[in-house]
Amino acid sequence: MKIIIMGCGRVGAWLARLLDADGHQVTVLDIDAYSFRRLRFPGLLSDFKGTALVGNGIDQEALRKAGIEQTDVFFALTQGDNRNIMASQIARHIFKVPRVICRIYDPLRQEMYTTLGIEAISPTAIFAQMLKEKLES
């Protein structure tokens, strides 16, 4: 599959390497080239062999350059909830990407955008729930 990941933080880079190792065609987009070092951190995962592009994921030109018109999946994983929300809506409504997955830290916004048709995941709610279950087990 063709996959675009916006945001090369810990999660974005880790996911990129996992998907790349599985044989997917992955493009990573980040506004800071320095973030791409995470794609080569030695350790548990093999090095990333896909494409790393400097660009702003809420800029339609940058998304076009990253190949959004042909992509099957778009992940929005920057640190900013609103940036992720806007990029996801561009991917979905302007470029009609078949699958768009968006990280939203704020559980309230996550719930609202889910009802608006964005596949949104809140790590905050999931992780808090996990910790609670750890305590109870």
């Binding site: 809420i58 339609q60 929300i85 806007m86 302007i94 309230l108 609202m112």
Partner: protein, 220 residues
């Protein structure tokens, strides 16, 4: 009318001041505690410290009774989310967003934002008006329609000088509404009105027909 302004920067500050002087009830939501304090000192207790994109902050602001929410932070994504949350969670009837990247205009409209103001486009249009060599100027975009009001100036060398309006092939989707002569005299552009050098023609047109209208009136 109760109006919420998101973002207390320069635009937010002067907007709030103007709205207050028109007698509206205004609340500014600002992330930065220091800016919030400055607004409080200068304009009174009308600022709320918080993130205007968060439903919790908007609930505290009493957004459900707001008739309008205007998001004027410096970030397009924050303005978009503030407007969407206020619309979908609090049913605010009218949302206005400032946008910096003109490309976002289409997206914002598609996502249900009622009005978008592109600061970049506004500045460009104003500069365009000051450039005398450009014969077509945008005067006004008619809201919620595809139409705009433009002004076309007839240059001295134009092939249409001395011709009557009926001789020109003005695009069917445009309407000539007024001729303003040099010196300020104005007249209705009837079919027999003759164009003169320096005339300014005010016309209603679509964006698509704009260039054809300019060609029809200036002959170039």
């Amino acid at each position: 009318m109760y109006i919420i302004v998101i973002g207390g920067g320069r635009v937010g500050y002067y907007l709030t001041k103007a709205l207050l002087s028109e007698g509206h009830e205004v609340l500014v939501v600002e992330k930065d505690a220091g800016i919030c304090e400055d607004i409080r000192e200068e304009l009174g207790s009308i600022s709320l410290h918080g993130d205007g994109c968060e439903a919790a902050t908007l609930a505290e602001a009493g957004t459900e009774r707001a008739k309008m929410l205007i998001a004027v932070t410096g970030e397009d994504e924050d303005n978009l989310v503030a407007c969407q949350v206020s619309k979908h969670k609090f049913n605010v009837p009218r949302t206005i967003a400032r946008i910096r990247n003109p490309q976002n205009e289409v997206l914002f409209k598609m996502l249900g934002i009622d009005v978008t103001i592109s600061s970049t486009n506004v500045i460009l249009e104003h500069i365009e008006e000051e450039v005398p060599t450009h014969s077509l100027t945008h005067l006004l975009a008619i809201e919620d329609s595809e139409q705009e009001l433009v002004e076309v100036k007839i240059p001295p060398e134009a092939a249409t000088v001395g011709k009557a309006i009926r001789e020109l092939s003005v695009p069917s989707e445009t309407k000539l509404t007024l001729i303003i002569r040099e010196g300020g005299e104005s007249l209705f552009p009837s079919p027999n009105a003759i164009l003169r050098t320096g005339d300014r023609i005010i016309a209603l047109t679509t964006h698509a027909a704009e260039e054809r209208l300019r060609e029809a009136l200036t002959g170039a």
